[in-house]
Amino acid sequence: MSVGLEHYLILSAVLFSIGLYGALAKRNAITILMSIEIMLSAVNIAMVSFSRYVVSPAPLTGQVFAIFIMAVAAAEAAVGLAIIIAIYRGRGTIDPTKIDLMKW
């Protein structure tokens, strides 16, 4: 069976699930950020495979969406790491289970 749209979508879902597990289960804020990057990349794979395999009147719209996702991911990584570094300076830890000041 030759590789088609479903293969790429399943791969994208697998990568997204791995990222979801990492974002929920890890106790280091930077690892959580890395997991979120994996999830965004998985979504990008789905977008690009749609734009490759599905004929649309406007070609390559999926790739345009992927470009915007990359820009937002870059902004998110920069601001997220800035917040993590600021928290580490103030509290000496980046364990999200200990950063619970605003928890009820």
Partner: protein
Amino acid sequence: MGLDIAFWILAVVSVVAALTVVSLRNVFRAALALVLCFIVIAGLYITLSADFLAAIQILVYVGAISILIILGIMLTREIEQGSPSNQFRIPAFIVAVIFLGAVGYALLNTAWPAVTPALMAPTTETLAGQLFGENGFILVVEITAVLLLAAILGAIVIVREK
């Protein structure tokens, strides 16, 4: 045929690299596995004939975001402590598996209007037309520029020493 083999190799390597990222305790090695994962995803874009996106993936993810993350790891010095799992490890695993099952079921039971068009010529020209041309995404491009500016300024303000 060659594309199929390339897809399977890249898919296996990317899944293994992603699993390494979430399973290693050493944060720095996890970041290196993340770099491998990004490079392999650029290869996947090439198999999807998205040449411009593959170049952007290498430039933005492998070049910029990985360096940012490694810089963050060095500035927070959490390598000795590592990244252990929290008490929600089992529920998180169950949630991820349920999500994968639901999405996989939905994917495999949908009749996608999928065809396999001929491999496209370099995509850069079409992409530029989509982004900047008539009826394109020019407003979104402008908003993205403002977003990036705001993110840069926000990051500088947040990490600045008082």
